[in-house]
C-alpha cells in the first residue's frame, strides 16, 4: 500500500512530510474533540473526559500489546476471548480463596497475580504455536479465540461468573478511585503507554520487532533470534491482556461468555488508526493511544446527541474511522 520507493529523496524527509504523517491521528482527535464541544457543553468536562479515558483503558492497554505483535509482523485475534477467560479464572480464584485468605486485599492480590500469570501463559501458548509450530498467526489465534471463548462459557456453565460481593467492594476502588483525582485505570494506561513507547523506541526488543516485521530474513541474518522476539511479543500481549483485565474485573465484577467480544477488532483498529502498519515493520505506541482514544470518543459523542438514529451508530463510527486514517494518508498524493 505504500507508494513507490523512489518517491522520497534520501535526505530532506524530515521537515514537512513527517510532521503531517505524524500529526494525522492527532488532527483527527482534535477534530473529534471540537465536534464534541459543539455538540454538548458537558463534553469537555473533567468528569466526562476521565470517564472516556478510564473506559478506554482496557482496550488501550491491550492495543499497546497488539502494537508490538503487529509491528513484528504478527496478529493476535484471541485477545478478547483471552480477556474473558482471564476474568473468569480470576473471579473463580478469588472466590475460591476467600475461605482461606478471608475478605481483603490479599485475595484481590492473589487474583491479580493469577490474572497476569494466566495472560502470560496464554501468550506463551499462542507464541509457541506460531513460532515453533510455524502456523500462520491468523489461524492460531483464530483457533485460540474459539478455545478461550468456549473455556469461559464452560467455566461459567453458560452463565455468569460473579465475584463475591464483599471482595468486589474491596476491589472496586481499583477502577473507581484514583490518585489526585485521576482514576487508576487512566494512570495504569498512561504508565503502560509510556513504558511501551520507551520499549518500542529505546530498547533492542522494540528495534528488533520493527526489523522482523519489516524483513524477517534480514533480521535473522543480523543474528536476531526471530522466533524468540516474536514469542516475546505474544507473551507481552498476553500479560497486557492480564493487566487490562485487572482493571476490568472491578468495573463489572463478573465475567461471562460475552465478555470481551470483538475487543480484538477494536484493539487492532486502534493500532492501525494510530499509524502502525498492519503488515509490520513500523509501530507507534503513542499513535495507538490516540487511536484508541479516538474510538472511545466516537462512542461518547454518539451519546451526546440525539440527531443520529442509534441504528446508524455503526455507520458514524465507520465513517470516522475511515476519515481518521484518511487524514494521515491522504496527503501523500498531494
Amino acid at each position: 500500500m505504500t507508494a513507490s520507493a523512489p518517491e522520497t529523496a534520501g535526505k530532506p524527509a524530515r521537515g514537512f512530510r513527517i510532521d503531517l504523517k505524524t500529526a494525522g491521528p492527532l488532527l483527527a482527535l482534535a477534530l473529534l474533540v471540537l465536534l464534541g464541544i459543539t455538540l454538548n457543553e458537558n463534553f469537555f468536562t473533567y468528569n466526562n473526559l476521565t470517564n472516556v479515558l478510564a473506559r478506554s483503558s482496557f482496550i488501550g492497554i491491550i492495543a499497546i500489546g497488539a502494537t508490538f505483535v503487529i509491528t513484528a509482523g504478527g496478529l493476535d485475534l484471541s485477545v478478547g476471548s483471552m480477556a474473558a477467560v482471564i476474568a473468569g479464572v480470576m473471579i473463580m480464584v478469588m472466590n475460591w480463596l476467600i475461605p482461606s485468605l478471608g475478605i481483603g486485599w490479599s485475595v484481590v492480590l492473589a487474583g491479580m497475580l493469577a490474572g497476569i500469570l494466566l495472560g502470560g501463559v496464554a501468550g506463551v501458548f499462542n507464541g509457541m504455536m506460531i513460532t515453533r509450530g510455524r502456523i500462520e498467526a491468523f489461524i492460531v489465534t483464530l483457533g485460540t479465540m474459539g478455545i478461550f471463548r468456549s473455556l469461559v462459557t464452560f467455566l461459567a456453565n453458560g452463565g455468569t461468573l460473579s465475584l463475591n460481593f464483599q471482595v468486589a467492594d474491596v476491589y472496586r476502588p481499583v477502577y473507581y478511585d484514583g490518585l489526585l483525582g485521576v482514576p487508576y485505570p487512566i494512570i495504569v494506561f498512561a504508565v503502560v503507554a509510556i513504558a511501551g513507547e520507551i520499549v518500542m523506541r529505546r530498547t533492542t526488543f522494540g528495534r528488533h520487532c520493527a526489523a522482523i516485521g519489516s524483513n524477517e530474513q534480514v533480521a535473522r541474518y543480523s543474528s536476531i533470534n526471530v522466533d524468540n522476539v516474536r514469542l516475546l511479543t505474544y507473551i507481552l500481549q498476553g500479560v497486557l491482556v492480564g493487566v487490562a483485565v485487572l482493571l476490568y474485573v472491578p468495573r463489572l465484577g463478573s465475567a461471562s461468555s460475552t465478555t470481551g467480544v470483538l475487543w480484538e477488532l477494536e484493539a487492532i483498529a486502534g493500532v492501525i488508526i494510530g499509524g502502525t502498519m498492519l503488515k509490520g515493520g513500523h509501530g507507534r505506541v503513542w499513535g495507538t493511544v490516540v487511536g484508541v482514544v479516538i474510538l472511545g470518543l466516537i462512542g461518547n459523542i454518539l451519546n451526546l446527541q440525539s440527531l443520529i438514529s442509534p441504528y446508524l451508530n455503526g455507520a458514524f463510527q465507520g465513517v470516522i474511522i475511515i476519515l481518521a486514517v484518511l487524514l494521515q494518508r491522504g496527503r501523500r498524493n498531494g
Binding site: T2, K11, S214
Partner: protein
Amino acid sequence: MSSAEGTSASAILSASRISKSFGEIPVLFSIDFDIKPGEVHAIIGENGAGKSTLIKILSGFEQPTSGSISYDGKVVTLPPNGGAEAMGIVLIHQELNLAEHLTVADSIFLGRELKKFGFLDVAEMRRRAAEVMQTLHVNVDPDARINTLSVADKQMVEIAKAISRDARVLVMDEPTAVLSVGETQTLFEQIRRLTARGVAVIFISHKLDEIMELARRVTVLRDGQLIATVGTEALTPDSIAQMMVGRELSNLYPPKHEPDVDAPLVLSVHNLVAKGVKDVSFDLRKGEILGFAGLIGSGRTAVAEAIVGLSHRDSGAIEVEGQPANFTQVAQSVDAGLAYMTKDRKGKGLLLNMGLRPNLTLLTLKKHLKGGFLDPSSEEKALERAVRRFDIRARDATVAVGRLSGGNQQKLMLGKTMETEPDIIIMDEPTRGIDVGTKQQIYHIIAALAAEGKSIIVISSEMQEVIGLSHRVVVMREGRLAGVLEGAEITEGEIMRYAAGIKQSGHNDRISA
C-alpha cells in the same frame, strides 16, 4: 594445531574439503580455501559457480554438507545467521540485506545495538553512523529510511555496516556491482586501510580489473569445482577469464557497426524535468546504442523512469517514433515498443518467491493467451528459448527465482525484458553481477539488436562497458546532462571529467547525432 601458529603466513580462516548440496543438488565439491590476515583473496567464477555459497559457508550462513572450517587454527562450527560476526567474520551479502522500514543508523547497528543504561543509545548510533558514512563519502542522512535510498546508496549502507563492525575477516560478495568508479575507489581505499590493520578480506567480483588491482591471490571456481588458487602477479585478465570460462575470451566487446547518421529519431526527450531530473534533453536514433554514464545519484535511473511512466514528470516532452508519448503507465510504454529494465532485480525486477516461468512472462502474458486463457506450454517454450539465449543456469527449473545465483537472476530479468520484443530498450546496469563469459554473450546480443535496427540505451556504472558498447555516451551530473561524447572522445578520462563536473558542455545544448 601446532604447525604454523604465530607466523604471519598462517591462515586466519581456512576451509578444507568443503562440499555442499541443496537437497540432492550438489553445488560445491571438496573446496579448499584459506585467507591470511592483511590479505585480499578474490574468488571468481561464472554465474552459479558457487562463489556465494562458499562464502556463506565461510561465514556461517550455510552449513557445509561435509568438510571442515578452521578459524585461528582451530576447527570450528560457525554459528548460523550472522552469529559469526561476534567472532569477527563479517559478510556483505550479494543481495541487499536491509530492512526497508528502518533508518540508515538503525540498519548499520541492527543486531548489535549500542546501549546506555540498558536503553538504546540512539544519539551515539546516529553519530557513529554519520561518521562511517562520512569516511565512505556518502551523503546520506543517518535518519533517512532505507526505502528512500537508491540501490547504490543502499549498497554503501551495507558496506558501512560491514566496515563499522570489528571485523577480522571481511567477506564481500560483489560489493561493487552497482557502484560506479568513484564509489568503487572509495571502497578500495577503505579495504586497503583495513588490510593494513591486518583484516583479511575475501572479495568477489566479476570485474577482473578490480581483482587485479586489489587482490593478492585469486581462487577460481567453475561448476562448484576448485580450478586453482593463484597469485595475481602471475595473471592477466585474459588468463583469469580463460580459467573461469574454460575457453579463450577474445573480444569482450563486439565490433561497433557504423551508426547511420541519417537514421530516424526513435526517441526524443525535450527539457525533461522530474524528481531527480533537471532539464534533460537528448535524442536516440534507430539502431543506435546510447550509453549513460555518471556517478551514483546523477539521475540516470530517474530519467529512464520518467520516460517510461514509472515516475511523475513535472514538465518536458517526449516523442517516440515522432509521436508525442506521455506515458503514465508502464504498460503504455511497453505497448509503444519501449521497454525499461530496472537495476533493482530483487526489489523491482523479479518475484523472488515464484518460479522462472511466471517471472519470465509477467510482462508479456498477452502473448501466451490461447482462447483468452493462458497457455502454460507456450510459456514453457518461451522459457526454453530464454534459457538458451541468455544461458540461464538453474539446476532445477521449478526452483523459486530467489534461489538462483545472482547472475542467473540478472539473466532471467534480461530475458523477461526482451520478451516484449521492444524497439527501444533502456537497460539499467544490464550486466550487474554477470560473469565475463556471459557478459560477452550479452554484449553481442546488444550489438546484434542494434544491428537489427533496435535502439538501446545502456545505463551503466561500469565505464568500460559504456565505452565498449556505445556509439555515443551521455554523461550525467546532478540531474543534468553534463556532456555528450562521440567517437574518439569516448574515453574514460573524458567521461570522468564530465561526471565530476570538471568539464561542462554549453548550457542546454541540444544534443543529437
